[in-house]
Symmetry: C2
Subunit: 104 residues, 2 copies
């Protein structure tokens, strides 16, 4: 991972994955790794607490399932989550623009 500069964008990333459809923790990690072409290698200790936070905030909802004898908690984006994703993405883009203005 690029030196931990993940700083507080985890929520945005999780919502970014979840907006394509429900997924469970392990799958989210894999999806992040693939989509970023290896750029993101999130630790479990990072995403599970983050998912709990998002659920607490009503941005995602989860349901416990059992597939192939394995316990899974599948997360899905809520309507509020979709709105929040758009808002945070806009914010992120503004942030990037500001960064570019200083370092480009």
């Amino acid at each position: 991972m690029a030196s931990g500069s993940l700083k507080s964008n985890v929520d945005l990333l999780l919502m970014g994955v979840l907006r394509h459809g429900p997924a469970h923790g392990y799958a989210i990690i894999a999806s992040l790794r693939e989509r970023s072409d290896g750029g993101f290698e999130l630790a479990e200790g990072t995403i599970y607490p983050a998912l709990h936070r998002l659920e607490q905030a009503g941005l995602v909802e989860s349901s416990l399932q059992t597939a192939q004898g394995r316990r899974r908690r599948t997360y899905a984006l809520t309507a509020r989550g979709r709105k929040e994703f758009s808002a945070q993405r806009r914010e992120w883009q503004g942030f990037v623009a500001s960064m570019e203005a200083v370092i480009a």
Copy 2:
């Protein structure tokens, strides 16, 4: 500032300003505010410790001066600082690319 969080890119920003020439703390804050068009409003409690960190790491060097009766510590990027800036900027760009791949 957009939700406060600078996401640990303060060092990169400081070097981004300093690469145009030496400056002192207050001027750096002003420069950041102007270049980012108001996007960045760094607190003193953010930049002074950060500048000390950078100096500790040998990426900037400072000298105490007196201008118009006021005490100023002027910071300048070192050669190592310039290299580090380039490296961190590259890293940042990779990070942005990864982010885009997930949320765009």
